[in-house]
């Protein structure tokens, strides 16, 4: 018997997790759908000109994803904070890797798919309703002859309303998985109030990073040099002709970007794995 990963054992674990939590999950999905319907209904009631435009759909999708996804991730291993629940959980004859993968399956993969499905189940008919309202109430922007046009359904991967980092590198989309994985780690690391404590930890980390960028890096730059982004620096002496740029080599730049896009979440999962192994009850 493999002591690290065994597919049939993992499937048993997944099955057990599903049967013990399905009612809670299904109710949570219904609640998510209900909240989105309520929010869209509110938007439709107050805006008769361009309701549910792509920007509103985009913000609704990502706000919900970040808030609910991170909150849910912070509960994935919450039983470890309670002795009466932690012992039966750790005593299940499955490896730490299998337990972590089960948490990732439900907290990351299935949650994302379920949330996205619920979003579109609500979004598509609501956008259709918004178009009917536009057609019925106002075809032109107020005091102009400019047509309002119909509202499109949000396309997650190719959205013209998305901020530039998301358009270019999908950083807001992929950043969700990175931040959510920090909450997953928080659910193992913090015994109580893991959601709040993880928010505080992320904010502290962010503060230290900003402080390092401003005080640490900038203070050590040669006279006249300052950084534009994490990847390039400029020397601007006031005359445009004398402006000089330094960029990291293209390969290094690409590697850093790829790391930011795809390595943060797996790194947090790895730390979560070791933290799970070290967990004492």
């Amino acid at each position: 018997m493999n002591q690290t990963f065994d597919l049939s054992r993992w499937l048993r674990l997944v099955g057990a997790h599903w049967t013990e939590n399905r009612k809670r999950y299904l109710l949570a999905l219904l609640a998510m759908g209900g909240m989105l319907i309520a929010w869209y209904a509110f938007l439709l009631s107050i805006d008769k000109f361009g309701p549910l435009n792509l920007f509103l759909q985009y913000t609704a999708y990502y706000c919900g994803l970040y808030i609910i996804g991170c909150f849910y991730a912070s509960t994935i291993f919450s039983q470890l904070g309670n002795k009466s629940q932690a012992i039966p959980y750790l005593a299940i004859p499955a490896s730490h890797l299998e337990k972590l993968l089960c948490g990732i399956l439900f907290g990351v993969v299935l949650f994302f798919l379920a949330y996205t499905c619920i979003f579109y189940i609500v979004d598509i008919p609501m956008v259709s309703m918004a178009n009917k309202i536009i057609a019925r109430e106002h075809q032109y922007w107020p005091k102009t002859m400019l047509p309002i046009g119909s509202v499109e359904v949000l396309n997650l991967w190719n959205n013209k309303w998305a901020p530039i980092p998301d358009k270019q590198y999908h950083l807001i989309f992929l950043g969700y998985f990175a931040i959510q994985s920090a909450f997953l780690l928080g659910s193992v690391y913090f015994v109580r109030w893991s959601f709040i404590k993880t928010i505080v930890a992320i904010l502290l980390f962010w503060l230290v990073l900003v402080f390092f960028m401003i005080k640490g890096l900038s203070a050590h730059m040669p006279e006249g040099w300052h950084y534009d982004s994490m990847l390039d620096w400029t020397n601007f002496s006031g005359q445009q002709l004398n402006t000089r740029f330094i960029r990291l080599p293209a390969l290094l730049e690409k590697l850093l970007l790829l790391s930011a896009q795809y390595c943060v979440a797996p790194a947090f999962w790895l730390i979560t794995y070791f933290r799970l192994k070290e967990k004492e009850v």
Binding site: Q3, L90, I92, S95, H96, K277
Partner: protein, 277 residues
């Protein structure tokens, strides 16, 4: 089966064990006694792999418990003092959990459930605390792990259930199984355990089998001042003085676990001197 060597364990600032040694063998039911806060539950959780030794080693059937490998978890079951049962039906919970234990016997489980008079259907949340405890005891016995650790298993059980508990435990042990029961309800273990372990001040203060105890000690009630003067431990009561005496006649007597426990805790030096002689 279980070998604990030079175990040192502490919770942040509070030291619990300092150089504790213990050997447990199959075919026995051990009773682990000790005052509140002496580390009975901590010892069980160290053996089960939920706490890690700060120093020393624990070996359970060739496994290092702290690694919590599936093969180890399949062979060790800890019945914790605090219960948690998820909000599912009994049959669903059994189906979910039994699959992880290769030696689980549904037949045995049903027999224990019938013995304890618990409904095998319905939601587990509808069961009372005592019924939940009996359900977990039934499951703990039916998984047939070679090592079974029970932390205060009789808490919350009524008188008839305690008697049934003793009956099923006595019937469950065989030459391949080892059961370690931690309790402060000494009376509940009477006529059940065959070896007693007393833990005090971070070490095993007393570790003897019941046969040796009955050969070396007698337990009696007496108003006789001579007998009282010879007693290793004496406690006055309305029926006379309850005495723990050295067994000089060589007659086997039934040990009174409560008296024995008090004698060990309060007159440990005298008792150990007698057993080490």
């Amino acid at each position: 089966m279980v070998s604990v060597k030079d175990l040192t364990f502490s919770y942040r600032r509070r030291s619990v064990f300092r150089g504790l040694d213990l050997q447990l063998h199959p075919g026995h039911i051990y009773g682990l006694l000790g005052r509140n806060g002496t580390g009975k539950s901590t010892l069980l959780r160290n053996i089960a792999g939920f706490l890690f030794p700060r120093n020393g080693t624990i070996d359970v059937m060739g496994f290092e418990p702290g690694r919590r490998q599936p093969a180890f978890l399949q062979q060790t079951f800890l019945l914790p003092e605090e219960l948690y049962l998820p909000p599912v039906s009994v049959s669903r919970w059994i189906k979910n959990n039994a699959a992880f234990y290769p030696n689980f016997s549904m037949e045995q489980f049903r027999a224990y459930m019938t013995g304890f008079d618990i409904p095998a259907e319905g939601s587990m949340q509808e069961l009372s605390y005592g019924q939940q405890k009996k359900l977990l005891i039934s499951f703990a016995l039916a998984v047939n792990t070679p090592l079974l650790l029970m932390d205060e298993p009789t808490n919350g059980l009524d008188i008839l259930s305690k008697s049934q508990f003793r009956k099923v435990i006595a019937g469950a042990v065989d030459e391949k199984k080892c059961i370690l029961i931690s309790t402060h309800q000494v009376k509940d273990l009477e006529n059940l355990i065959d070896r007693i372990l007393v833990i005090e001040e971070g070490r095993i203060l007393f570790n003897q089998d019941m046969e040796t105890i009955s050969k070396k000690l007698t337990f009696s009630l007496s108003f006789d001042p001579t007998a009282t003067a010879d007693a290793l431990y004496c406690e006055s009561s309305l029926k006379g003085n309850a005495l723990v005496l050295p067994n000089t006649d060589g007659e086997d007597s039934r040990p009174d676990l409560e008296m024995l426990y008090k004698a060990i805790i309060l007159e440990g030096e005298k008792i150990n001197k007698l057993f080490n002689a």
